[in-house]
């Protein structure tokens, strides 16, 4: 990884707000490497090599290293996942104000520094990871973001994943808990439509409850569906905009 700009071989960029953008890259190149392709000889006999390796083993090892690193600093890390526009950043802005612990945030988006700037204005330190074409954060990106962010011991770290109800569910980042945010404008059928995400969640925040009078979102139906995928999951309906029931969310965080 380039320690100046945070770019790496996975195509993601890590940006710490307040640091100048752009610098010369004299000492290294940023092109991907290639291998010469040796064509197959149709006459060559092949033999079977048994491997039995988990495809995501490398990500899982890096996630375990992130988890150890965070545990050593007594940092609680929450991986926040949802579709785009569910209100994750608004929820974080409120949480930064309400939290009894210092909060730091790793922001994941394909492009822009918008969310990290909002978090900084709300009073917390943040780094932005731009994944480019990538649809999720992985453990490598979080490790690099942790190097830049350097969260203080005893703090609460949020990883705001790329807005996507599919891909982030598969990638362990080294978090303590996975939280899924769904807003009532998205519809109450989303748990069964995106089952992997809701099956992986420790807690689901149902956001924008101030809009319930205007939409057909049945909180009970949604909660029952989520329970068929994940019997242990806890559902917390809130409005990050009005502040309704945010004390329940805050109590859950305080208990971690």
């Amino acid at each position: 990884m380039c320690s100046s700009c945070g770019c790496g071989h996975d195509g993601a960029r890590v940006t710490t707000l307040g640091e100048p953008e752009g610098h010369p890259h004299d000492d290294h190149t940023h092109e991907g490497h290639t291998h010469e392709h040796v064509p197959a000889d149709p006459g060559t006999r092949t033999h079977t090599l048994e491997l039995e390796v988990a495809v995501l083993a490398k990500n899982d090892e890096l996630a375990a290293a992130n988890r150890d690193r965070l545990a050593g600093l007594e940092i609680v890390a929450v991986n926040l996942m949802s579709s785009p526009g569910s209100g994750k950043t608004t929820l974080l802005e409120r949480t930064i104000t309400d939290s009894t612990r210092p909060v730091t945030v790793i922001e994941g988006d394909q492009e822009t520094l918008f969310d990290a700037e909002r978090i900084r204005r709300a009073g917390a330190r943040a780094v932005q990871v731009n994944t480019g074409a990538g649809c999720h954060l992985d453990a490598t990106m979080v490790a690099r973001a942790l190097d830049s962010l350097d969260p203080e011991p005893g703090s609460l770290l949020f990883v705001e994943n790329v807005g996507n109800l599919v891909c982030p569910a598969l990638f362990d980042l080294g978090e303590s808990r996975k939280v899924v945010v769904i807003s009532v404008t998205e519809g109450d059928d989303k748990a069964l439509k995106y089952p992997h995400m809701f099956a992986a969640a420790d807690l689901v925040v149902v956001n924008k409850t101030d809009l319930l009078p205007y939409v057909d979102f049945d909180v009970d139906r949604f909660s029952a569906d989520a329970a068929t995928l994940n019997p242990a999951v806890r559902i917390v309906p809130v409005s990050a905009k009005t502040g309704a029931a945010l004390d329940v969310w805050q109590q859950w965080l305080d208990a971690l």
Partner: protein
């Protein structure tokens, strides 16, 4: 489209073990609840192998059913979707397998 990231992980984990040897076939075991679409993975595999010693290799995917245990009636059963419900009507179900995503073997020259 996390299948591209998965395909890249497959390529990296195979290359780690085969170095520059030519690989003709890569075999994967994918559980039905792994959250991976085999067709999308096959499409991405061709992109991820381009320019590597795996270029031109074929991908063989064996899909496996998920298995679960019902704590109410003690039955073990097969399921193909993530809805944890036993035929007896109980939702007190423990998932035993179905999220595997492994490279099982390769054919090398």
């Amino acid at each position: 489209m996390h299948e591209l990231a998965i395909a890249e992980s497959v390529v990296a984990s195979v290359l780690e073990r085969t170095a520059d040897r030519h690989v003709a076939v890569v075999r994967l075991r994918v559980g039905r609840l792994a959250g991976v679409v085999p067709d999308a993975l096959t499409f991405c595999f061709e992109l991820a192998t381009a320019g590597t010693a795996l270029a031109g290799a074929s991908l063989e995917i064996v899909e496996e059913h998920a298995r679960a245990h019902c704590r109410s009636c003690a039955a073990d059963f097969v399921l193909d979707d993530p809805i944890l419900l036993c035929g007896c009507g109980s939702a007190d179900v423990q998932l035993l397998s179905g999220r595997e995503l492994s490279v099982t073997s390769v054919e090398v020259a």
